[in-house]
């Protein structure tokens, strides 16, 4: 049966000249597929496209992007790459899900939704926060994937809605994988692609910090993860490091807890001479404490606004020469 080259990236000319827009081997390109006369068995192995049926055109699949598939976004736009670290249940995925849940109700503290190539990925992560899931209370399903996955979000800030959107690729990595990396050098080396991160967020589990028996161990775990990442040069000293305490609703009334003394001082003492940009935040994505004065998405708007501040006008970047734009495409940096 005849095979016709095709690609789900509109600008790719692989159909005509057989060359990948990304300069990748066709078998490696996540956007490449064989057109309708394809042998279905072979097409099934093509990531990020729907298996072809007769006379149908595949569309981008909307799920989370693995490292290779991030080119769907990075080819078109300069991106901010944000890596979220933290143990299982520290609130990494709930943080992502809450952003999308809140944007569906309206702009978040002046931040507008400008698009996402991973709406399905967001929707599946938001599912247990919805009444339609029939869950008894709002929850987030655990991230089990072994992949380094990313969600894409394009945002704008009012009143600058005429400026190009800022595109974020935000990681959703399973806590188990990060825990393994903390304990093993070989597991840590698998996280090498993270060295192209623009920002690192270390999510501290507010539930563990609120419990005096688990507080020190939780801080120690975060310290050892960061220390190993830094020593193994998995994260750069010049990336923007943010320590974020999740589930703040469990701590804000605790008079025995002092954020500056118990959290900030701890990390500053250990890392202030390692990272050039170092800051702290408190969030409560989905407060569980009834009648808490801390509302849903507490602190998240402030965090996003910080990431959106002082961004260069990205239309200038897009107008730069292609060779320079490649520096914005972190996958290719990694790939080479």
């Amino acid at each position: 049966m005849a095979k016709i080259n095709n690609c789900d990236q509109a600008l790719c000319k692989v159909k005509m000249d057989g060359k990948c827009l990304e300069s990748l081997e066709l078998s490696e390109c996540p956007h490449f597929y064989f057109d309708e006369e394809t042998d279905i068995d072979e097409a099934e192995n093509t990531p990020n496209t729907t298996v072809l049926k007769s006379k149908s055109i595949p569309l981008f699949n909307g799920a989370e992007l693995n490292m290779v598939n991030t080119t769907l976004v990075t080819y078109q736009y300069p991106c901010e790459n944000i890596i979220i670290l933290g143990d299982s249940d520290s609130g990494k995925t709930t943080f992502l899900a809450t952003i999308f849940d809140i944007l569906q109700k309206g702009p978040l503290e002046g931040i507008y939704f400008a698009g996402s190539y991973t709406q399905v990925g967001f929707e599946s992560r938001c599912h247990l926060s919805r009444i339609s899931s029939e869950a008894a209370h709002a929850d987030t399903e655990k991230t089990n994937s072994k992949e380094l996955n990313f969600l894409h979000l394009a945002l704008k800030v009012k009143p600058a809605l005429q400026r190009p959107a800022v595109h974020f690729l935000i990681s959703d990595i399973s806590g188990e994988r990060l825990q393994n990396a903390r304990d093993s050098s070989s597991a840590m080396k698998e996280l090498t692609p993270l060295k192209f991160a623009d920002r690192i967020v270390v999510m501290l589990d507010g539930n563990k910090i609120a419990n005096k028996r688990t507080r020190e161990a939780s801080l120690f775990d975060s310290y050892t993860l960061l220390k190993r990442m830094s020593d193994e040069k998995i994260i750069r000293a010049d990336c923007d490091l943010k320590i974020v305490l999740s589930k703040w609703d469990l701590l804000d009334k605790d008079t025995s807890f002092n954020f500056e003394k118990d959290i900030e001082a701890y990390f500053l003492q250990k890392f202030s001479d390692v990272f050039t940009s170092f800051s702290f935040a408190r969030i409560a994505a989905r407060p569980k404490t009834p009648h808490s004065t801390i509302k849903v998405a507490f602190g998240i708007g402030e965090l996003l606004n910080e990431w959106l501040e002082d961004k260069p006008d990205q239309s200038d970047i897009l107008n730069e020469v292609p060779e320079k734009r490649i520096n914005e495409r972190w996958f290719l940096n990694f790939h080479s």
Partner: protein, 288 residues
């Protein structure tokens, strides 16, 4: 002669076919100040249009479109202001067609080819659809707290339904359709998008004394779609209309009251600046 292709898009039961039925009747029953009117019926196949329009005229619910390939509709019209003759190509696709794009992540070759010649979209939304936005458990919990004693939430594992595309609300699906166009058909943008909020009479009734404008309704009731369109205004040129093509609820009492008027007098079209009965306004705006 100018040829314009306009795609009527929207999820199932959002009022697309009722709009076409009323439009056909309106274009054929011209009055003096009408901007768009039928120029000629010669050479046209109008069985489908006549059939749905007849149902509309006698206050009968217009049957929903079942075709996935789109009922082929061509109307030869004249713009009375410019004297321009336009052939309108307005295929009527079933709402399931658009829904399936999100669910199956593919569209047909025929639809893809049709997009290549499309000049604008009329995107229909049903203001009465409870699935336009998601319903969050945290919102329900907050509301319940007004009436109940608070209880601590346990961390025990819970029973739930697995996620499927069925659980995704309408505004996300509509944003995705626009993103598909922007990504897979970049030559189509900038594209005119006329958002038509159907059953506008119901919106007006529910807002009581406060006059609500279509753009405000979109901002408040489908906020993700609104934000997306506002943020992508260079790609999607937006105009929002509130349209009641049916004009009234089809019960005996309301129909009896309506019989004292011309059928066309029941139509409501709100474009943000004025309320009229000109159901061709979204078409005129796209063809301008």
């Amino acid at each position: 002669m100018n040829k314009k292709s306009i795609l009527l898009a929207g999820l199932p039961a959002t009022g697309k076919t009722t709009f076409i039925a009323a439009l056909w009747y309106y274009l054929n029953n011209s009055c003096n100040d009408q901007l768009l009117m039928v120029n000629s019926l010669a050479g046209g196949e109008h069985e489908y249009l006549n059939s749905i329009s007849r149902d509309w005229a006698v206050y009968k619910t217009v049957a929903r479109t079942r075709s996935n390939n789109g009922e082929k509709i061509q109307i030869n019209v004249k713009n009375t202001k410019t004297d321009q003759i336009i052939v309108l190509d307005i295929p009527d696709f079933s709402g399931e067609t658009f829904k399936s794009h999100f669910d199956t992540r593919e569209w047909t070759e025929e639809y893809d080819k049709l997009l290549n010649k499309t000049n604008g979209f009329i995107l229909f939304v049903d203001p009465q659809d409870a699935n336009n936005t998601p319903h969050l458990i945290t919102d329900a919990d907050e509301a319940a707290l007004l009436f109940e004693e608070p209880t601590e939430i346990s961390n025990e594992s819970i029973e739930f339904k697995q996620y499927s595309a069925e659980h995704t609300c309408n505004q996300v699906k509509l944003v995705e359709e626009l993103q598909f166009i922007k990504h897979h058909k970049p030559a189509m943008v900038p594209l005119k998008i006329a958002v038509v909020i159907s059953a506008w009479d119901v919106v007006e009734k529910s807002s009581e004394d406060v006059k609500v404008l279509p753009l405000e309704w979109l901002e408040k009731s489908m906020p993700l779609l609104y934000q997306y369109l506002v943020c992508n205004s260079t790609d999607f040129i937006l105009q929002v209309f509130g349209v009641s093509a049916q004009g009234l609820e089809y019960n005996n009492e309301d129909i009896n009251k309506a019989l004292s008027k011309n059928r066309l007098d029941n139509i409501i079209v709100e474009d943000g600046t004025e309320t009229s009965k000109d159901i061709s306004k979204p078409i005129v705006w796209i063809t301008e």
